[in-house]
Symmetry: C2
Subunit: 221 residues, 2 copies
DNA sequence: TCGGTTTTGTTCTCGCGTTCACAAACTCCT
DNA sequence: AGGAGTTTGTGAACGCGAGAACAAAACCGA
């Protein structure tokens, strides 16, 4: 079972590494836009805010794309990471729940530029169906099936209230969506083959509050 | 160095546990609201979407708040976790950058109900200063110092474009803010005693895309 | 051509987090 | 009272990830 590096793509990239690849990618884009042609692991690590040894180990899972004594070709590495993540192709995305947060997401230009294309905005509230957000019509939630089929949507975003989230997730799964980004503060039950990532702002604040309390309160008893 | 459980608060809670405590807290709130008085680690674990052994170990860091053969008193445990996290008190928060995302955050009611109070909305763009978002005036960014002092603000939220984020962070740190929640897709450099948590939606989508690519592409060579 | 310099790719070790498994502790029923 | 049943709290084993350290490989200059 020698861990031979395949020229096409590495077999098995650790989750922790997968989570950092987009950070490296963004750092590389910034470097590239500033005209940098080559960078060392140390430079890239600083730009990405990580340890350089960790960066090199992460990159080694993708293959051997650097040159010893020189460093990495910024554009080449950028392409390799983008290809590994899968953002060289465009991913159609649907957003469900076009309230405060859903509208902000729809208006966010950073998705498009990173390989994601919002193909539909869906909301259960008929009052919303008149609206146009970010140049896209808000459509009834019932259209999900047809849209998912027509555009081969694999990724869905849930920005509905928590109470509706499980329902929305079930419908998404039924439509063949296998990746869900969930902003509702609730635990989603989905089949094994479906990936769910949750973004929970309250939790983030609470984690900060915990540490903050420790700082000011003086942890000593 | 016997790890005796102090009645006041445990010495050292692992980061992974701290990150899950808010999840447990939310599950307990839901259970409490549904009238549940007592729950077992298994029930709570299911509600929180984790393994029950992990849940018990996590709770054991706080102290011994359960009863063997019975389970946990929902309201009691809820209070203990809230106290440990620090959300029994109110935390004043400032949001900087009242664009798409900042407005959504300001309008979000879930913060208030979880112990966070938005005391100010700040934006560098003078055009925004006429606006009132969620009943709060949008004020000039320069007011940060005074507001931070007056309200003893310890937690700041950054929702500005990436290019402005480091600047905003520096100003926050100078005002005594020691916890930052950053939505801008950039690495922030701050002193050691300052905690930064980042929420990066593009990264979440890219992680989903990676796995999605693996699913459809057929990982086998 | 060859030694010196630089930087990558990888090995090794350590610590943290997860999970299993079980003794201790509590309730309930007879 | 005492035994059966239940559930917590924790010791131990295991696997993964972080970081230090170093050998291999490239470049450069003489
Ligand atoms: N706004 C924020 O900054 C923020 C922050 C953290 C978490 N969240 C979470 O994100 C979610 C959305 O927040 P929001 O502030 O945008 O809420 P919102 O109430 O403004 O918007 C929710 C939208 O979902 C729609 N909806 C309701 N049920 C639906 C269903 N079954 N199918 C499709 N659409 C449905 C509603 O019509 C509404 O337009 C909530 O779960 C909230 O807890 C929001
Ligand atoms: N909108 C989203 O859904 C979304 C998603 C992911 C990430 N983000 C990130 O969140 C941030 C905000 O996104 P947005 O869509 O709200 O952008 P936006 O352009 O709508 O809003 C940014 C706001 O920040 C203000 N601002 C700019 N410089 C400032 C400064 N130095 N001090 C104070 N205020 C300043 C601007 O006046 C503007 O009101 C961006 O970094 C973006 O990449 C947004």
């Amino acid at each position: 079972m020698t861990a031979r590096t395949s020229p096409e793509s590495a077999r098995d990239i650790p989750e922790a590494t997968v989570a950092r690849l987009p950070v490296y990618l963004r750092a590389l884009v910034t470097l590239s836009e500033s005209g940098t042609v080559t960078c060392s692991s140390e430079e890239l690590a600083v730009a990405a805010g990580v340890n350089s040894a960790k960066l090199r180990k992460d990159l080694s899972y993708l293959g051997s794309y650097g040159t010893r004594g020189v460093g990495y070709d910024v554009d080449y590495l950028r392409y390799q990471i983008a290809r590994e993540i899968g953002v060289t192709q465009d991913w159609p995305v649907v957003i469900v729940g076009i309230g405060n947060l859903g509208q902000a997401l729809a208006n966010y230009s950073g998705f498009r530029s990173r390989g994601f294309r919002v193909v539909a905005l869906l909301d259960a509230n008929p009052d919303r169906h008149d609206e146009v957000v970010a140049g896209i019509d808000v459509r009834p939630f019932d259209h999900l099936e047809q849209i998912a089929r027509d555009h081969a949507v694999a990724i869905g975003v849930i920005a509905t209230p928590a109470v509706a989230a499980q329902d929305v997730a079930d419908r998404m799964v039924a439509c063949g969506i296998t990746s869900i980004l969930n902003f509702a503060p609730t635990v989603l039950n989905v089949p094994d083959q479906v990936d769910v990532r949750k973004v929970d702002l309250s939790i983030e604040l609470q984690i900060l509050a915990y540490h903050e309390q420790r700082k000011t309160h003086g942890a000593a008893g």
